[in-house]
Symmetry: C2
Subunit: 547 residues, 2 copies
């Protein structure tokens, strides 16, 4: 059977635009002789529309759009993703569904059984799980249609307490009883740096276990926080990858499920290369989908802002990226020189706005209140906030979006000023540990020195007081990131982390900093998510509590 | 049967503190001759601990704490709320449970069946629903133990699309088959201005339908966003309220389920009085539970900041509240006079920090970049952000938390400056529409003029340019709030709202403003929730999308 895999980049709630894309792919698939074209999960609405799903008009428009797409399905069939209304007596109002379209009509509907409700996923908030199983029956084939998580029922869910668990249902197990000849999965599987390998293992195991060919169509593209990497797949019944679509870009391919020799796979990328591509896509789509083209960021001469500038140029083009240098009395000349050199290497425009006068103006205004109180973090924050204000003023005046340059290590321990260096429309490195920032910088410089060598080699400093270094108040970053990874990604206890051979006092200090700074992260810019546990919607902590 | 209702204010994750409170109430109940003392849902951890539930050490500590509490239960039994480990083969790792403690031990566990996963609730993220039902059997009584939502299965869930729906299960229906003599409900039911009446209706109907006495024990207290109002209840088998505990404060009472004449009910409060009490509790608990005592806020002479100052003084005492006046070139003398008069009426300290010099310093620094470009929103935002920076500097220097004074109407349409007047640790009025701000101000002034009359009477203005009035760019607030309420709380479409007799162009303009400003609200301070749909964790909208 010839099946087209249509891996597209959708804009949430853009029914008109999504419809056009889908219809174009339907016609292309027909031209190329496909009998069926498969789109990704919730393709009509874009994944994930969140509480727009609570609006009646949104649901009605989505279903109208499915009907309009169906009207284009003559001489070809399609599977598209969209919400469906639950007409049963009980449960949530909607299903997360795959619509089978043929002969100009909606011919069948398949609903998702396993609704991810953890990390960044909130599907049970909006959808009722499917409980009734059937196959898609075409003139010639019997197909098990599944939606994303439906194939992840046997995931080895390791439980930290109690027994390891299975899901409450096995959708494929139910469908296998009906003797299908093929498995199709419509997915919206977000990128994290280890997700691709994990996904391939899970899907290959399903193909092998059932002895059936398996087609997996993923969404590609990003919104403010989430990045979907594409990489749609066709597996042979023995679990081999026969065809693999591109990563981080739209792609389209017609496969023949009868031809099970390897046709096209993608060149493997290192973890750091994947992170780079993911972040570039994340920036590009945030701007394009928000209707903005220009970005502005503060260039401090440090490695974080340098890396963000590089990624922004890759995403938006040098002409669309502006740098602001905002030197203070504590800025070293080499920092200024490094920032200028970076801007020149990238070919981006930059402007210098010294902050000293304004900072002094604040000090003067506050002097009657502060009297002879000694300088402390207040004065450091005034500098950071003056810079934040200047970036926002530039943004307001010229319509550029401010890119935030805080990394995950800083964000974790609260080493940043709320409304100061934490401002921005998008936090590019908010899910990138400092040690990974260095890895990305090395990758960027592999062919040619773009990020000045001095920026990479010098000791990290916020330069908010004379001679300040990050290592004055933080553990060295290799150690810090190890503690953070085990606490944030792996939910380990202080004792467990110390048992890795780390000073328990150091561990407790770092964890206390993480816990104490939830309030700052609650007001931070949206963070591009590239790990299994990012700050943002996937990590929900109480703001008030004794922990 | 003599049963104690222990309505306490817990601190999330404070096992030591919560344990002490619970044990104190157990001893008190025993002294007063009660056979059983009932605490609220997840009382041991505090409701709701969010992703702390994903940490093994957190769960083990919670269960250890339950055991320590059990050890105190001699000569009396107790029902306390805490997570329990799911030892089954399938599903989530935890149950949301009620532990029955007697003779120094955990004797039985009852798990929650209906897990709210909508609005601010995320229970299915962490818990597996119960599927096995049994009664609590004491020597003399057979009791149906339920947890909060378990009694809300017959809620008339009106569906905007598809049929109205029932829940997938009826926990009380299952328990009634076993012939209980009483119903107990452990709850954590958040305040919203209409929730108390709704709750009483639902519970009274359950008592009446089953012909059983019903005891409902609610949590009281607030964290950053959520406010729980207490008001625990004892209903007769005919659905009458026999005993009603206090609202917005801890309370404790022993009732006798054999005595079904009305014993004590609370004086009814108006909606505005409830809102006031809820906001005061919200402020007080945020500070107390975060370990802070002092608050600072900007006093503009306008009604929003005046109302926040009043509520803060009620919550924290006048000595703990500071006002900053930050006049600009556009501030009218009457605004300054009104702000001073308010501070004097409240007896709070205030300081004046004029912003003109600093604003000019910013203009000077940016002049080489901005050249001859005309003044626009950039310059207005510089003023608002200069004020934000001054408030934060005051906060840093003196350890005061900044109270945000934006109201829900402004926040909805984006009439506020990110990192400017939107700064703060807590947004006191973020769920209070402007029309309700006026109602609260009238209530405050009912006995004595605290908020200056001029502050209430003058036309609202941000005073960011000469002669500016809110009504220049916004519809009149009565109309605006009506549109907003139907769009935000009721999820109505533009057509449905226009059908109320409102100019469709006006409706579309307002809705476009709401949609366009999701990005600002994503970075706002936590908002005290007092309606059924607040901005914050209960409303999750995509940041990028065409809507």
């Amino acid at each position: 059977m010839k099946i087209a895999l249509a891996q597209l980049n959708y804009l949430i709630a853009d029914f008109e635009g999504n419809r056009q894309k889908i219809i174009t792919s339907i016609h292309k698939a027909k031209e190329q002789g496909a009998e069926l074209v498969v789109f990704s999960e919730l393709s009509v609405t874009g994944y994930y529309p969140h509480d727009l799903l609570e609006k009646k008009e949104f649901i009605l428009k989505a279903i109208d759009t499915v009907r309009e797409i169906a009207a284009q399905c003559t001489g070809i069939s399609a599977l598209v993703g969209a919400p469906a209304i639950n007409d049963g007596e009980r449960g949530k109002k909607l299903f997360n569904a795959a619509y089978f379209l043929r002969d100009g009509e909606i011919c069948d509907i398949f609903c998702k059984t396993l609704l991810p409700t953890y990390d960044i996923f909130d599907e049970y908030r909006h959808f009722e799980p499917n409980r009734h199983f059937h196959l898609l029956e075409t003139d010639t084939h019997r197909i098990a249609v599944t939606i994303c998580e439906d194939l992840w029922d046997e995931l080895p869910v390791h439980s930290e307490f109690g027994k390891d668990k299975l899901c409450q249902a096995s959708p494929l197990g139910e469908l296998m009883i009906m003797n299908p000849g093929m498995i199709i999965n419509l997915a919206a599987s977000p990128f994290s740096s280890d997700q691709e390998n994990w996904r391939k293992e899970v899907l290959a195991a399903k193909a092998k276990m059932t002895g059936l060919p398996l087609i997996y169509v993923n969404q590609v593209g990003a919104d403010a926080e989430m990045i979907y990497d594409g990489g749609s797949l066709f597996f042979s019944p023995s679990g081999e990858i026969i065809s693999e679509l591109a990563y981080f870009t739209e792609d389209f391919r017609v496969v023949d499920t009868g031809e099970i020799y390897i046709q096209a796979v993608q060149p493997p990328l290192s973890k750091t290369e994947k992170m780079r591509k993911a972040l570039v896509l994340g920036i590009r789509d945030y701007f394009r989908k928000s209707g903005f083209s220009g970005a502005v960021l503060g260039l401090s001469g440090g490695i974080d802002s340098a890396l963000v500038a590089v990624l922004a140029v890759e995403a938006l083009g040098a002409a669309n990226v502006r740098g602001l240098l905002m030197p203070s009395a504590y800025s070293s000349q080499h920092s200024i020189d490094d920032a200028v050199l970076l801007a020149q290497n990238l070919g981006i425009a930059y402007h210098s706005v010294p902050i000293q006068d304004t900072v002094e103006s604040f000090s003067g205004a506050l002097a009657p209140l502060f009297g002879n109180l000694p300088a402390d973090v207040t004065e450091e924050n005034i500098q950071a906030r003056t810079r934040g204000l200047l970036l926002m003023a530039f943004s307001n005046k010229f319509g550029h979006i401010v890119l935030n340059t805080s990394n995950k290590s800083e964000s974790a321990v609260g080493y940043g000023t709320l409304y100061g260096d934490m401002v921005g429309g998008l936090a590019v490195l908010g899910d990138v540990y400092k040690t990974e920032v260095y890895q990305l910088a090395d990758l960027v410089n592999r062919e040619k020195e773009i990020i000045p060598r001095n920026t990479i080699l010098k000791a990290p400093s916020a330069e908010l007081r004379p001679g300040q270094k990050d290592s004055d108040s933080l553990p060295e970053y290799n150690l810090l990131d190890k503690i953070l990874f085990h606490y944030i990604e792996l939910n380990k206890s202080p004792e467990e982390i110390a048992s890795l051979g780390i000073d328990p006092a150091q561990v407790r200090k770092v964890i206390a900093m993480v816990n104490r700074n939830e309030y700052k992260r609650a007001q931070t810019a949206p963070i591009l998510r590239i790990t299994s546990k990012s700050f943002g919607s996937g990590r929900r902590m109480p703001l008030v509590g004794r922990y």
